[in-house]
């Protein structure tokens, strides 16, 4: 009976549902966008490596203008070696330096970030070599002029040719390409992770930059539970080595990427919640739409209610009839809204070149919500209908 009433007023039922459809659809689409942002951020942090600590030199804190973080030259390759040998629970460790240079092959040239690294860098960044080999400790010791290049660099300098074994010039110094990295694609921050040239750390320090310090040391800890212990040990060790005593400020920083990830996840969860709740407001507005239409419907069908009551319908019979009607609006609107929301979310993903993640939670929550709204906002009109006096209702024109 509820269905036939809704069917008889197709346009009106559809318009009433529209509020719910938009509400549910918006919640799902918005939350999927938020979840997309979150997974992007998580991915980009995870691509830096899991359980990572990054040791970087601090800024100069002597009198006069202070320089930027990382500008101090106190963090040495020896510090990195000391950390590796003295601090427990470290899986991998890689000190690195980087700079931008022009890279030339014949008449092709390209500008890229050149990073001086150690062999362990491969494990830390989860890199793999497509052809050739990675930088070895032998290369490192001998300060060899060898390079492993990313696919972007390779395609710009060599086209379709295999670059392994060829020579390139980095800042006018000849380097032999010994390996080609497997494509990693774009990082979620929009950085091309294949636009990179890796050379041995010692080569970079002594032959290219003419420095003895390193710009950062990446440390991968064995288990997440050791993060704090390792961080503390590194800090203690470096303070000892750098002879920093008492309240003096550290000349280095140890950053914990896991806590960064937690913060970022928290932030994006907040964004997701915010988007979801803004969309949720439209659900509530949709619910008020249901109530409004049901009120009109009760008034309009006063006579029908009178007839039903005269024929023996009790309070609960009438109440159920109208409640079912509004719940059906909520259910059908909710189901259509789920499809609209999923469609919208894939549309955003397709048009905006943006990852959206559809999860069960917003679908279940918003659907439950829409059914609940149909129920709650249906109670008042249904009660109004069920309480009608049959004599008055029969007399109603």
């Amino acid at each position: 009976m509820a269905f036939s009433a809704l069917y008889a007023n197709k346009l009106r039922s559809l318009l009433t549902m529209l509020g719910i459809i938009i509400g549910v659809g918006a919640v799902i689409a918005m939350v999927s966008v938020g979840m997309g942002v979150r997974s992007n951020v998580q991915e980009s942090i995870a691509s830096l490596g899991s359980n990572m600590l990054i040791v970087s030199p601090g800024s100069s804190n002597r009198s006069g203008p202070r320089s930027a973080a990382g500008s101090m030259k106190t963090l040495k390759y020896d510090d990195a070696k000391a950390i590796q040998s003295k601090v427990k629970n470290i899986e991998y460790l890689s000190p690195s330096v980087s700079s931008n240079y022009q890279i030339v092959n014949g008449n092709q040239n390209w500008n890229s970030s050149v990073q001086g690294i150690t062999p362990e860098y491969m494990n830390i960044k989860s890199l793999s070599v497509e052809s050739g080999s990675f930088i070895s400790s032998d290369n490192l010791q001998k300060r060899e002029r060898v390079a492993v290049i990313g696919t972007t660099v390779a395609s710009n300098l060599f086209g379709d040719e295999n670059p392994v074994g060829k020579n390139i010039r980095v800042n006018n110094q000849p380097f032999r390409v010994i390996g080609l990295l497997e494509t990693k694609g774009q990082s979620s921050m929009g950085q091309d992770q294949d636009d990179v040239v890796l050379i041995p750390l010692t080569t970079a320090q002594e032959r290219m930059l003419g420095i003895t310090h390193v710009q950062s040391v990446s440390v991968q800890v064995k288990e997440a539970m050791y993060m704090d212990q390792v961080q503390e040990d590194i800090e203690t060790l470096l303070r000892q080595r750098h002879k920093i005593i008492g309240g003096k400020e550290d000349d280095f920083h140890v950053r914990n990427l896991t806590s960064l990830m937690e913060t970022m996840t928290q932030t994006t969860t907040m964004i997701t919640l915010l988007l979801g709740s803004v969309a949720g407001i439209s659900l509530v507005v949709g619910g008020i739409g249901i109530m409004n239409i049901m009120m009109v419907s009760v008034t309009e069908r006063t006579r029908e209610i009178g007839i039903r009551k005269a024929l023996g319908a009790t309070f609960s019979n009438i109440m159920m009839q109208f409640l079912i009607e509004s719940v059906v609006i909520g259910v059908v609107g909710g189901i259509i809204g789920i499809f609209v929301g999923c469609g919208l979310s894939s549309l955003i993903a397709a048009l905006g070149d943006f990852t959206t993640v559809i999860t069960w939670a917003p679908i279940v929550v918003s659907f439950t919500f829409s059914v609940g709204i149909g129920l709650i906002f249906g109670i008042l009109p249904a009660r109004k209908a069920a309480r009608l006096d049959p004599i008055e209702a029969l007399r109603y024109e």
Binding site: A8, G306, I307, K309, A310, L311, G312, A313, T314
Partner: protein, 238 residues
């Protein structure tokens, strides 16, 4: 089998009072009435006489302010709304002046509606509804919507609906008021047929010719029954 003389309706000292400002108005001012099983009674009276109020109380749509109403031996004057609804469903079949069919459902579903509220299953509902539709000669119109039927046919559907749950009493409120002469005759024939089959009918009308079809005429005036006559008495007072 119940005896023919058994009293179905017994009203004693029924009063219906309304508060109008600081003054009390009695729509019904002490009604005593017995109606026996199988009686065909016509209830007459000018507008404002209390006829409609009496009809509502008899039909269990309304409660008297004071007094006793025994329907089939059970006191129903002061039941709750839901109990009244169940009493209407079980004991009373209504036929209205303007048919009061639900426009959106078929004749068959209209007829079956009281059975829905009596809690009958779908197949039983359809079977019984079909049987009474046949009895009023509309079996071939079962799947028609009310707006596809003539006035006389609609009223026959309404009569079928009143009969479907085998009530004690049929309450007909001006059943021919909206009908042409031909349909009026058809409808009154059906009532007389029902009367012949032993049903108790209370017919509210203001047309003396219609009232003459009944075997008892009651005249309500100023909230009391002023005349109560057997068949054949012409009521020229209305």
């Amino acid at each position: 089998m119940q005896t023919k003389d058994e009293i179905v309706i017994r009203l004693q000292g029924i009063k219906k009072l309304y508060q109008m400002g600081d003054q009390q108005v009695a729509a019904l001012d002490g009604i005593d009435l017995d109606i026996k099983r199988g009686e065909f009674a016509a209830l007459m009276g000018p507008s404002g006489s209390g006829k409609s109020t009496l009809m509502n109380i008899l039909g269990c749509l309304d409660r008297p302010t004071v007094g006793s109403y025994q329907l089939n031996g059970r006191e129903v004057a002061h039941l709750s709304d839901d109990e009244l609804a169940r009493t209407r469903n079980k004991n009373i079949g209504f036929v209205f002046q303007n048919f009061n069919l639900l426009a959106r459902i078929s004749s068959l579903d209209n007829v079956a509606l009281p059975l829905v509220y009596a809690g009958r299953g779908l197949s039983e509902r359809r079977e019984r509804a079909m049987a009474v539709l046949e009895a009023v000669g509309l079996a071939d119109r079962a799947e028609h919507m009310p707006n596809e039927l003539s006035g006389g046919q609609r009223q026959r559907v309404a009569i079928a609906r009143a009969l479907v749950n085998e009530p004690e009493i049929i309450m007909a409120d001006e059943p021919t008021g909206n009908l042409d002469t031909k349909s009026t005759r058809e409808i009154m024939e059906i009532f007389q047929k029902m009367h012949g089959l032993g049903r108790t009918i209370i017919l509210v009308t203001h047309e003396p010719e219609i009232a003459l079809c009944a075997n008892r005429q009651l005249l309500v005036r100023d909230g009391v029954i002023t005349r109560d006559e057997g068949k054949g008495v012409v009521l020229d007072v209305v």
